[in-house]
Subunit: 233 residues, 2 copies
DNA sequence: TCTATTCCTTTAATTATCGTGCGACAAAAT
DNA sequence: ATTTTGTCGCACGATAATTAAAGGAATAGA
């Protein structure tokens, strides 16, 4: 009777890794919730909406996630866990590679991760703009880590005289704005710029733009100190 | 019984201009709505919440704004109208001044406008990340104009060989990400970076960072073609 | 094969809150 | 004096999220 969930696997790839053993119902709920939260918002969608879209019983949501709020919290923490671990991976190469290539790699990983979890990314980024106790906790747990890794990369870049001296916090903020924009505003990109935000081509071109930003405003010289290693490995 | 609205005039200064003749009740509703929408979201706040915070009767909301939905729509269109008019003002100086100083002025105006209407800006920017028919209409009405003005500025900048040739759409998107970030994520700035986002000092420094971005990634040469005229212009 | 246990799912009921519209009434404007 | 505008209390119908209790299916131990 109701349209059921379309299993677009690209939208939640890491769920396949982390939660392969989950019930079909549970995964349906997750999938339906992400989609509905994005169009109608968290408070705007009822558990009935989710349940009927996922084609399961309403009570299942409370059973699995401890209520609607628990479901949202689960989605956010799951996403952010993977998010910061991507940055961490890039950060760990800071000792063996240049700060610049490390930064490029971090950005590339973040973009790729968000691209693979577009819908979820949008939900999380939006939800984080509220201020509640839950959001505050989440921020001190995950985004502080993110800030730490980025800050370290910049600090090392300054120390090695790769980067132009700049106020780090503002640099990080500026960068975060650019990193989240495509996923927070896909509708804007589609409707106003008439560009398809979920085609791979878009994200690659946007990434190239980010690399140019690194080259021109972050780095000190215009000349490349090593071959550009992003995009095609 | 309930805490009433704190009349922080800086939060809605343009309302004083545009709607001086409004009732006290109406303005209270607007003020209360903005504050509540930001902490609990649109669907998360009830009309009763708004009414009790504004210390007026519930029915007044329907009376003034045609229901809760009408209230949100009013807030968004009011904000965006002022928003694009700021950009338009800067755009009109394109013929008499350099593209660069025009862009700097546009950005400065946008930041100032958003700063003066911080809370409202946050609400609107967040709400725009949804996709509904209303949002789509709003985008084609207002954000298309915004895109047009920015695009023109860049085009002229290319034509006059002030700017480095770059894909305009991606430049605009990148810029929009940076322009909305401080107002969409004040909580992040405060909680993670321990910087006060609603102190004037912050927005000035952030603006300076944006000017550097213009200088380094948008413009062609490093040398300044005219004295920097923003900030104390 | 029988039984016990665990996990998954459903039914049904509870309890609360939602947005809106109606009618009345006072103040202000005409 | 009459129309308009602002404000209020109230109640209607709808819908919200959650939980307690029980049914069902599969599995593991005997």
């Amino acid at each position: 009777m109701n349209e059921s969930v379309s299993y677009d696997r690209t939208l939640w790839r890491w769920f396949l890794v982390k939660q392969e053993r989950d019930t079909v119902s549970k995964r349906s709920v997750i999938q339906a919730a992400i989609q509905l939260f994005n169009t109608k918002g968290f408070h705007g969608t009822s558990v009935r909406d989710i349940a009927s879209k996922a084609d399961v019983n309403v009570a299942l949501i409370s059973y699995y996630f401890n209520g609607k709020k628990g479901l949202a919290e689960f989605l956010m923490t799951s996403f952010l866990e993977g998010y910061v671990s991507e940055i961490e991976t890039a950060y760990q190469q800071l000792e063996t590679r240049s700060a610049k290539s490390c930064l490029i790699e971090a950005i590339h990983r973040v973009m790729e991760y968000q691209y693979l979890n577009r819908q979820l990314a949008r939900f999380v980024h939006r939800e984080i703009t509220f201020d509640s106790v839950l959001i505050r906790e989440i921020m001190t747990t995950y985004l502080s880590k993110e800030k730490y890794y980025f800050t370290r990369i910049f600090e090392v870049g300054f120390a090695r005289k790769e980067f132009r001296p700049q106020p780090i916090d503002y640099l990080v903020m500026q960068m975060k704005g650019m990193l989240s924009m495509p996923f927070l505003h896909p509708q804007y990109i589609l409707e106003v710029h008439h560009i398809q935000p979920n085609e791979r081509y878009f994200i690659e071109k946007y990434n190239k733009q980010l690399n140019e930003w690194i080259q021109l405003t972050v780095c000190k010289d215009k000349k490349w100190e090593e071959r550009p290693l992003v995009m095609n490995g």
